[in-house]
C-alpha cells in the first residue's frame, strides 16, 4: 500500500497551486464566526493569501469549524464534509474543538473534533484573534506545500474508525428535517 504522504511530481506541483487559491466554506458554528469578518475584510485581508468565501461545499477547499459543536450541528458538519470535493482541509478553532473548552460537561456538545472528522490544524485560544487565524492560514499553506495536510486521505483510509466514532456519539448521522421531508 502506498504511503499516505507519498506524492507524484504532478501532485507536488498541484499542491503548490492549491495552497495559493483556497476557498473557504461559508459555514460558521459557535462563537468563532465573529473573528472571521475582521480576518476577511480590509484590516487583515484574507484575500491577499488567495482565500475567499464560497457558499457551496462542492466548490470549497477549507472547512473552518469555528467553535463549539453541538451533536445536532456535528451531523450537518459530517454531511457537509463528505460533500466537499478532495482535497479538503479542516481547521478547528478554539479550545472547544480541541477538548470541549468551557462546555466540557455539556450534554449536547462534543469534546473532541478529530474523533469524528480529521483535523489538519487547530488554533488554540478562546477565541483566537484574527492574527492567530492569519498565522494558521499561513501554516496551513506551508503544510499543503509540504504534503502534510492530508486529513482527507486519512479520512478515506480510516473511514470505518471515523464512522464508528460518529455512530457511537450520534447514534445516526442521517439528518431528519421535518419541514422538507
Amino acid at each position: 500500500m502506498a504511503q499516505i504522504d507519498e506524492r507524484s511530481v504532478w501532485e507536488k506541483i498541484a499542491d503548490q497551486l492549491r495552497s495559493r487559491s483556497m476557498w473557504m466554506l461559508h459555514y460558521c458554528t459557535g462563537c468563532g464566526a465573529v473573528e472571521l469578518p475582521p480576518s476577511m475584510t480590509s484590516r487583515f485581508d484574507m484575500e491577499r493569501l488567495g482565500m475567499g468565501p464560497m457558499a457551496t461545499p462542492r466548490q470549497a477547499d477549507i472547512f473552518l469549524i469555528t467553535g463549539y459543536l453541538s451533536a445536532k450541528t456535528l451531523r450537518r458538519v459530517i454531511y457537509t464534509y463528505e460533500k466537499m470535493a478532495d482535497p479538503k482541509y479542516v481547521i478547528g478553532f478554539g479550545s472547544c474543538t480541541i477538548n470541549g473548552g468551557i462546555y466540557y460537561d455539556s450534554y449536547s456538545t462534543i469534546n473532541r473534533l478529530d474523533y469524528y472528522i480529521p483535523v489538519d490544524l487547530y488554533i488554540a485560544g478562546c477565541m483566537p484573534r484574527p492574527e492567530a487565524i492569519l498565522n494558521a492560514f499561513n501554516t496551513l499553506m506551508k503544510m499543503i506545500r509540504k504534503g502534510e495536510a492530508n486529513g482527507w486521505k486519512r479520512y478515506k483510509e480510516n473511514y470505518e474508525w471515523y464512522k464508528q466514532n460518529q455512530l457511537r456519539s450520534l447514534k445516526e448521522v442521517i439528518i431528519h428535517d421535518e419541514f422538507h421531508e
Partner: protein, 187 residues
C-alpha cells in the same frame, strides 16, 4: 405617553382574583406574577387573552425537585400598556401532564415541544409535542431536569482527549533548569 401607560392594572388583577382565586405577587415595575391552581390556569389564560394580554412571549418550565413539582410559566404581554404577567401553575413531577394552549396561541405548539423535550412535560391535545425538535435521537432523561447529570452523559457519549503529562519536564521548567523552555509549559 398616555395616562393609561403608567397606571397599575388594578382592575384586571382584582377581577382575575375574584374569578380564578389566584395569588398575585409584584415582581418588578409593570411585572406581576399570577400563581394559579392547576385546573383554573387555562380559563385564566383565556380570560387574560381576551382582556388585552394577548402576546404569549414564552412558555417555559421550572423544575422544583424538592417539592416534586414542575412549574409552568406563561409570560403574557400587553402591547397597549406595557404590562407583563407571569402566569404560573404547578404540575405533579411524577405524572407531568398539562393541557395545550396551541388553539389560543399557535406559536405555543413549539414552546410545548421545547418544554416536552427538555423537561418531559406532556401537553394533552398537542399530538405533535412528542416529535424531536432540538435534540435528535435522544433516549435519556430530559436534560434540563435537575436529576439529570450532564457530566456523566458527556463522559459516556463524547470521549475526552487524553493528555500525557510529562512531570519531569515540567519540574525542570519550574526549577528553571531549562531557561529556554519557560514558554513551553503549556505545550
Amino acid at each position: 405617553m398616555t395616562n393609561s401607560m403608567n397606571k397599575p392594572p388594578v382592575e384586571i388583577l382584582e377581577k382575575a382574583k375574584e374569578l380564578f382565586n389566584i395569588k398575585i405577587e409584584s415582581v418588578a415595575d409593570k411585572q406581576y406574577r399570577l400563581i394559579s391552581e392547576n385546573d383554573k390556569a387555562i380559563p385564566l389564560l383565556s380570560f387574560l387573552k381576551e382582556s388585552g394580554y394577548s402576546h404569549l412571549s414564552i412558555l417555559t418550565c421550572v423544575d422544583w425537585i424538592e417539592e416534586k413539582k414542575f412549574e409552568l410559566v406563561y409570560i403574557l404581554f400587553n402591547w397597549s400598556n406595557g404590562v407583563t404577567f407571569l402566569v404560573s401553575t404547578f404540575v405533579d413531577r411524577e405524572k407531568p401532564i398539562f393541557y395545550t394552549v396551541k388553539d389560543m396561541w399557535p406559536t405555543a405548539e413549539y414552546y410545548e415541544r421545547d418544554v416536552h423535550e427538555f423537561f418531559g412535560v406532556e401537553f394533552e391535545g398537542n399530538e405533535r409535542c412528542r416529535l424531536p425538535m432540538i435534540l435528535e435521537a435522544w433516549d435519556d432523561l430530559p436534560p434540563l431536569r435537575k436529576d439529570f447529570d450532564p457530566l456523566k452523559f458527556s463522559k459516556e457519549h463524547f470521549p475526552d482527549r487524553e493528555y500525557e503529562k510529562d512531570v519531569i519536564h515540567e519540574a525542570k521548567i519550574i526549577r528553571a533548569d531549562l531557561e529556554d523552555a519557560r514558554g513551553d509549559i503549556n505545550g
